[in-house]
Amino acid sequence: MANDREVLKVVWEGKIPAKFVIDSNDNDEVYYLNLPRISYFALCTDKVKKHFQRHIEKEDDIWFSYMDVPLKFHIPIGVIYDLLVSDNSLPWQINVHFNKFPEDILFKFPNKDVIESHFLSCLKEADFLKHKGQVICQLQKKDHKQLFLGLQNDKFDQFWAVNRRLMETTEQENGFKNLPLRCYTDDGYSYLQKLITPLTEKGQKKTLKDLLVEFSTPAKKPVGAKTHGIEVPLETELQWLSETLSYPDNFLHLCLIYE
């Protein structure tokens, strides 16, 4: 059970201060914003858009980049930051663009419904891996709405009221069937995903160390993993990790650290 409310709350409250800069001669074109680590650019940037559209009259879709890398709208903000900003500099300087939308790299999310259905698809995939999809199909449409609105409006209790059911295991099961996780390599946005169980064949609880072994190739061996901006101790149990440090889409997003 994800009943470590203290840790869950601290995770939820993470915010990255960002400095949105638009390419222009006017020095006023700077906008500061605290971005929630667990949210998505598609959900948080209405104010940015509104601010910059006062000055730029273009009607094109807005998009963001950091150091010339376009920022994806559908990956949690914290993951993008941990992946791209290697020196942890703050505030995070993000460039705002209104033209030449990179359609081959970024996917458009014109309204909230599109990002909501993407979010729910992630939940369904995660539940499929954890419970063969049996928990999420017991939830009603209003529960789905509650999850998304809780995320969108920064309502921790509203969100976790429903999410704790997705983090439950019965007494017969000793943890989830498989763990929903994505391991980002040091190669941009690419990530690996495979079936990972929380227990070894002998029934012992796996730790992060075991996971790193499973994601090793003969050429590259990760020595650590980072998520939510912190390095995770190697002894951390994977079941606990999945229950407590997953993002709201119920996936663990781990940035692998190589030597």
């Binding site: 890398v69 698809s121 992630c122 495979k194 050429a219």
Partner: protein, 114 residues
């Protein structure tokens, strides 16, 4: 071993690349494309594809094959349960949801499972 080296060298490219370059050795899997509901059925449903391709590529491929308009939407599903992210690569999907070199997908012109 050489193959893997080549693969890794292609993966260890610019830190800020968006999609990995094709490795020298291409791993291919079979994907099965099943129609859902009123969607037009493809004559050829089984395709052997480089597993580093992503879902958006598959979507465009089906679009072209079925000669759909650019306005028409296409929805793809795995295990008839969830829609994978457009940038998800087939390799990851196969590792999790496929077997015996095959991965089954369902496509629909209207939302089927959300």
């Amino acid at each position: 071993m050489t193959d893997e080296n080549q693969e890794n060298s292609s993966l260890g490219v610019e830190r800020l690349s968006i999609q990995p370059e094709k490795p020298a050795e291409i791993v291919k899997i079979d994907i099965l494309l099943n129609a859902v509901g009123n969607s037009p059925i493809m004559k050829q449903r089984k395709w052997t594809v480089d597993w580093m391709k992503d879902i958006s590529w598959v979507s465009k491929f089906i679009h072209k094959y079925l000669k759909l308009d650019s306005e028409d939407k296409l929805f793809l599903y795995i295990n008839q349960t969830f829609a994978p992210s457009p940038d998800q690569i087939l390799k990851n999907l196969y590792e999790c949801y496929g077997s015996q070199n095959k991965l089954s997908l369902h496509y629909s012109i209207s939302p089927a499972w959300g």
